[in-house]
């Protein structure tokens, strides 16, 4: 039969342990100082925050390199507007659950390094107050043009156009992406590289197939010429048709 009031005493022993523990045991005390430097006033627009996420945080803060907050557009190294990846295919605009992306397709095409000239988004706005950072747009985007940024300090005094991120604010370089989400950026680039390699391989295979066909055609013409009376020599089999569809772009909608 336990001592009267033993439950209360045990409870108090626990609080005492926590009281003393909070001074020494790092694991118990886990509240952190607030991050934003408090001597600067809040910028007018969300876009005016310093571009690089690192500049606004205090050294002591630790934003894990997995957290996602609002989307950002990627451009490869070089002048941002030339190397933008987004081709304004507006899939993300349709798929976005809270419908917070607004894209206006440009009418002229822009030369892209590597691929053929593509459209580019004349305006690409994301209303940060509507976006719920659910990352669906990143998933459905076939061009890896949009990824999640972990910059969370975007508070502004003005509610309407203050929280509207224009294309200029959204555009960030790939190295920045590597800086904030190293692992994710790494395997995303690897996947892009593999796709490119697969495409070249396919292209080469296609050219090889074409030459083979040309050769076969000349050979056929020659052989026809020599023995057009001889019965048709069996054509080499059709060049292997690539199994997967042409490329992700034409997924039917």
């Amino acid at each position: 039969m336990n001592l009267l009031g033993a439950g209360i005493l045990k409870g108090m022993a626990v609080t005492l342990k926590n009281f003393i523990g909070s001074y020494f045991d790092k694991e118990r005390l886990n509240t952190l100082e607030y991050m934003w430097q408090n001597d600067k006033s809040l910028p007018k627009r969300a876009g005016d925050y310093p571009k690089e996420e690192g500049e606004q945080l205090r050294p002591t803060t630790t934003v894990t390199n997995y957290s996602r907050n609002f989307p950002m557009l990627l451009h490869d190294d070089g002048e941002p507007m030339d190397t933008i990846r987004c081709v304004a295919c507006q899939i993300c605009e349709r798929e976005c659950p809270p419908q917070c992306i607004y894209i206006e397709k440009s009418d002229d095409k822009k030369e892209r390094p590597g691929g053929k000239p593509q459209f580019y988004p004349a305006t690409f706005d994301i209303d940060v107050s509507v976006c719920m950072s659910c990352q669906i747009c990143v998933e459905v985007c076939p061009f890896d043009a949009i990824v999640m940024n972990s910059q969370f300090e975007l508070s502004t005094p003005d509610r309407f156009n203050g929280l509207l991120l224009k294309r200029g604010d959204l555009l960030k370089s790939n190295q920045y992406y590597h800086k904030i989400h190293p692992e994710e950026a790494a395997d995303r680039d690897k996947r892009i590289a593999d796709d490119k390699a697969a495409k070249e391989a396919k292209k080469k295979a296609a050219e090889a197939a074409k030459e083979a066909k040309k050769k076969a055609a000349e050979a056929k013409a020659k052989s026809e010429a020599e023995a057009n009376s001889k019965e048709e020599s069996k054509d080499p089999s059709e060049p292997p048709q690539t199994s997967t569809e042409h490329n992700k772009e034409e997924n039917t909608e």
């Binding site: 039969m1 009267l4 209360i8 409870g11 108090m12 626990v14 609080t15 005492l16 926590n18 009281f19 523990g21 909070s22 001074y23 118990r28 005390l29 886990n30 509240t31 001597d39």
Partner: protein, 391 residues
């Protein structure tokens, strides 16, 4: 006007007015810091002296917090609800502060600069100090009612009535447990009680003294609406207690009154049970007595804060049945035991060690068994249950 008398009176009262309010400010800080630490937070550390020249600010580990609270309370606009009784609305916080302050001067603080022969000090050594103490704390209930009634709002009246019911029903165990000490010392005078406990024979070391101290401490928790009994002000069911309609400086007065009452009651507990001013170095340098006295008060306040961080609240009917069905019978029994033990000790001559040991163990056993029995009677079916596991 003989200036001699006035000088003595000032010498006796001004230190009280200086020491206890500063201790009040410190206790609010300590309470918030300690509660925070119990909950693994850091506690207030943002208020600091803005050293704009050096950038950032000098955070005084939150010591600026009580000052900030005080200033905030001063500048808050105090609203008096329409239709409320203006006079009593103003009078209630003052009436809640006066008894708390008045009672402080009867504690045997024996300041070193107050030698005994000055006649002003004798005035303070009131003959019926302990009874006077309970009479004055009784007035506190009055202030609570006045606050509840004067703010003309049904809920604060309800809260006020509950607070009064709680205070009145916990005053009885408070007084009965004090009777134990007065009985053995034979005098109501706080100074004599303190003198009789010199040299480490504090009352808390005898079994009935310990039981009385525990009852006294629990009842004092209820008297000042602290921790497990803070029903009136932190009512999660109905809106908060009797001082909802108060803001600004009047609320600060209530707040101050509550803390000073806490000091006063724990001061009395120290005088009655923990040998006021008696500590290792007390005989050598009498000026150490004050420091010992205040240290013991701080220990009791610490325990109160610790309790506040741990225990949930009691329901109203449990609160009442705990006072009437558990504390009161226990304290009455304790009085009988003390009477018996005191009689055995003082009247027969061969009061050797063996009889003393027997009496002590017997009384300890009786007290514990009755407490256990009472607890079983009151809460018959309340015990931790076991559960079965299904596949």
């Amino acid at each position: 006007m003989n200036w001699e008398l006035i000088k003595d009176i000032l010498l006796a009262t001004v230190p009280l007015l200086v020491i206890f309010p500063t201790m009040f400010a410190l206790t609010t800080w300590v309470e918030r810091k300690a509660l925070a630490r119990i909950q693994n937070r850091i506690g207030p550390n943002k208020v600091g002296v803005p050293m704009s020249r050096y950038g950032g600010k000098l955070s005084l580990f939150g010591l600026g917090q009580p000052a900030a609270d005080g200033i905030k309370m001063l500048f808050k606009e105090n609203i008096v609800p329409t239709g409320a009784d203006r006079l009593f609305h103003l009078l209630a916080p003052i009436l809640s502060l006066i008894p708390a302050m008045l009672v402080l001067c009867f504690l045997p603080l024996n300041f070193p600069w107050l030698t005994d022969e000055q006649n002003s000090v004798k005035a303070f050594m009131l003959d019926g100090a302990v009874i006077f103490f309970f009479a004055i704390t009784g007035l506190n209930t009055l202030a609570v009612f006045m606050a509840g009634w004067a703010s003309r709002n049904k809920y604060s009246l309800l809260g006020g009535m509950r607070a009064i019911a709680q205070m009145v029903s916990y005053e009885i165990p408070l007084v009965l447990s004090a009777v134990v000490v007065v009985m053995t010392v034979g005098s109501l005078n706080a100074g004599e009680i303190a003198k009789s406990q010199d040299g480490w024979n504090w009352f808390v070391f005898s079994p009935w003294g310990l039981a009385a101290f525990i009852i006294f401490f629990i009842a004092s928790l209820a008297e000042t609406n602290r921790s497990p009994f803070d029903l009136p002000e932190a009512e999660s069911e109905i809106i908060a207690g009797y001082f909802t309609e108060y803001s600004g400086f009047k609320f600060a007065l209530f707040f101050l009154g509550e803390y000073i009452a806490m000091f006063a009651i724990s001061g009395l507990a120290v005088t009655l049970f923990l040998g006021a001013g008696d500590g290792p170095g007390a005989e050598a340098y009498p000026s150490l007595k004050v420091i010992w006295f205040l240290a013991k008060i701080c220990v009791l306040i610490g325990i109160m804060i610790w309790l506040r961080g741990t225990l949930p609240r009691l329901r109203v009917d449990q609160l009442m049945s705990f006072a009437w069905k558990f504390l009161m019978p226990l304290s009455i029994l304790n009085i009988f035991i003390t009477g018996f033990a005191w009689h055995a000790e003082n009247n027969n001559e061969e009061y050797g060690f063996t009889i003393k040991a027997i009496i002590w163990t017997a009384s300890l056993l009786i007290l514990y068994l009755t407490a256990k029995g009472l607890d079983k009677v009151n809460r018959a079916n309340i015990k931790p249950r076991t559960y079965q596991y299904g596949e």
